[in-house]
């Protein structure tokens, strides 16, 4: 249990929305292409772009990298929305052989790797809270949850992990 759930390292968070011209400018600042396929992510070093909707991405980056300012600078001339949500939500990492089963206690999505492969990400619900669920490894999931729900979700995951899981 001790290693089932850990806090994700501190990171900067931005939600980006915009049309093609703005997205192309953002990609110049990011150094990689925003994923256009639904529910997929793209990464370069410590920067990650998670598809949330057809014109909406969650950008995670190292706090000291100043990516938000660079994105804003690159997109300035094009209509867009770039909202910093660094402190709105927290990151939880759920990992281990039981990770899939524990999340499945409260998440109705099929989390088998065939249906939810590494790199897949989506907003969904976990028990009664909305989360962004992102698979970063065969047995590792990154969860983004709004700060005020974090204590509830930690308690939920802790309780779910002690329910006997059939093998």
């Amino acid at each position: 249990m001790a290693d089932l759930m850990t806090n994700a390292p501190s990171m900067a968070r931005h939600v980006l929305r915009g049309r093609l011209e703005a997205l192309l400018a953002a990609e110049g600042a990011l150094g990689f292409a925003l994923p256009r396929e639904a529910c997929r992510s793209a990464s370069l070093n410590d920067a990650h772009a998670l598809w949330l909707g057809p014109d909406e991405w969650l950008i995670l980056s190292a706090p000291e990298a100043g990516l938000g300012d660079r994105l804003e600078g690159a997109m300035g001339a094009h209509p867009h929305s770039l909202v910093e949500v660094t402190d709105r939500q927290v990151g939880l990492v759920v990992s281990g052989i039981e990770a899939e089963a524990v999340l499945s206690v409260g998440c109705p999505l099929d989390l088998d790797q065939a249906a939810f492969p590494i790199g897949m990400c989506t907003r969904t619900v976990l028990s009664k809270a909305e989360i962004v669920l992102w698979r970063t490894g065969p047995e590792t999931f990154h969860l983004e949850v709004w700060r005020s729900f974090a204590a509830y979700l930690r308690a939920f995951l802790t309780a779910s992990a002690v329910v006997p899981v059939a093998d």
Binding site: A38, C39, L52, G53, P54, E56, P108, L109, T122, R123, T124, V125, E130
Partner: protein, 96 residues
Amino acid sequence: MLLITCPHCGPRPELEFVHGGEAHIARPAQPEALNAEEWTEYLYMRANPKGLHAERWRHLHGCARFFNALRDTTTDQFVVTYKTGEARPDLKGPAA
């Protein structure tokens, strides 16, 4: 659990969605030109059919986008879903 196919995300569990009322009801271009009866018609009067119903849904806890669906109100079956802005598919209900 009922699965609803989001036009952007594919089949997803029902509890990620919220219902948004009847689809294809255009806001009058000149609301100030409507009399009370016409405004009432726009605001409140709905088709409420038995059978296929075109309605708005929102994938709130997913991609968060609105889309439209044809749902059979007698069976609760989603016959087809389509993106906002697309025309209503020309389909007959299973029982029609």
